[in-house]
Symmetry: C2
Subunit: 219 residues, 2 copies
DNA sequence: CACACTTTGAGAATCCGGTCACAAGGTCAG
DNA sequence: CTGACCTTGTGACCGGATTCTCAAAGTGTG
């Protein structure tokens, strides 16, 4: 499996691959065989030069004068993103958000299946969420090991998040998607991404405040 | 007060201000009067040089040899972010996610109050969600105008999202936080930010697949 | 007051990503 | 087979963001 010592793919490009992937899925469904960078750019909401540059990091998969073969490109991107295999996912924290996420079919991407839902509250253990029984956080190690869970979604209150993250890492989880509104630290070698409602709203607020105001008219 | 011909604040800095804000809130609660860039950096999960550079865009609010006055800095940042006023928020789409968001108290930042919850499905109109009655999307214009809603959270299925976004913009909403897994286009002058579960998971998957090589996906 | 120590603020250097522009490589009509 | 026409792939350039570094400005002690 010694895979190509392929050029390092820039982070910004990695973040866009899923957009291309989605656009290509839709295109494939419409039985379109090839697609130009122009069109792909439009679907993904970026510009054509960026699409070409991004795709060139994966290799030369296009044909000049024609465009990209939709099926082939789809395959290459999904391989690159690791979407050709299954990723069992665990959700930690069964509050409002945790439950919604567990039920969220809109993961869109198949391959990310929620295989476990855990919570620290003994009162919640045993309840059913999205066809799964809530399990105890104390069984983390076993659950992670047995179900080969590499990716966890953290949806606990902020106060509990760091401790949960630590326990996840200790149990062998190497990728965490954090929804708790707090800064987490994880060791080198663990990927951490965050989704933070409050921050997004505050950023919107910043620009909203300045909209329409004459430039420099802030008090 | 001789008002600052204030430097334009870089986008990257704007995105970090909420982090500092949160860190400062916690610090203020602990009755700590001043804070160094070093300490603030630690709390916000960034490095000290960045903190200082970021804060310098707001003006020179620190004291050399001492640090920053917590209360004062807090005040300046919240003013900058528009957190000194209230932002009525509307949630569009009452699926799993919409409901969870409506109930989500963890907005953390006060000032963002959900003032309306709307859906296109007549079956849902009238039901109660988070102490609000679900209203019809057809009353959008009135709701937005009367409740002065500037920020909307889109939590519809992907297929409906663009149309809803268009209607929101038409009704006067200038800031949209999109949770629907699709690319939206909005006119110039409207802020759009997105939160996309599937994309986040796919990015994690990418790095998980390569564990060992890159430094990974920092937030 | 002098001196050691702390910490900010900002210029300079560097890194990274985005955009431009165009040669290279391909299609297709006649 | 030729010439008009597309579209990719990429090197060159540009600009924003991050990091480095250190002078400047403050504190505190004796």
């Amino acid at each position: 499996m010694a895979d190509t010592p392929r050029r390092r793919i820039p982070e910004a490009t990695v973040a866009r691959l899923p957009l291309y992937y989605r656009a290509l899925l839709e295109t494939a469904e419409r039985q379109v065989a090839t697609i130009s960078s122009e069109r792909l750019a439009e679907l993904a909401g970026v510009n054509a030069a960026k699409v070409r540059k991004d795709l060139s990091y994966l290799g030369s998969y296009g044909t000049r004068g024609v465009g990209y073969d939709v099926e082939y490109l789809l395959h290459e991107i999904s391989r690159e993103l690791g979407l050709t295999r299954d990723w069992p996912v665990m959700i930690v924290g069964v509050g409002n958000l945790g439950r919604a996420l567990a039920n969220y079919r809109g993961f869109g991407a198949r391959g990310f299946q929620v295989m476990a839902v855990v919570d620290a509250d003994p009162q919640l253990v045993g309840r059913s969420v999205a066809d799964l029984a809530v399990e105890s956080i104390d069984d983390l190690d076993t659950i992670v090991a047995e179900r080969q869970i590499a990716i966890a979604i953290l949806a606990t209150p902020a106060a509990a998040a760091q401790e949960m993250a630590d326990r996840l890492v200790a149990a062998g989880v190497r990728s965490i998607l954090n929804f708790a509104p707090t800064v987490l630290t994880v060791p080198e070698g663990v990927s951490l991404r965050k989704v933070d409602l409050a921050i997004e709203l505050q950023i919107l607020s910043f620009y909203q405040l300045r909209r329409g105001l004459p430039a420099g008219a802030l008090s």
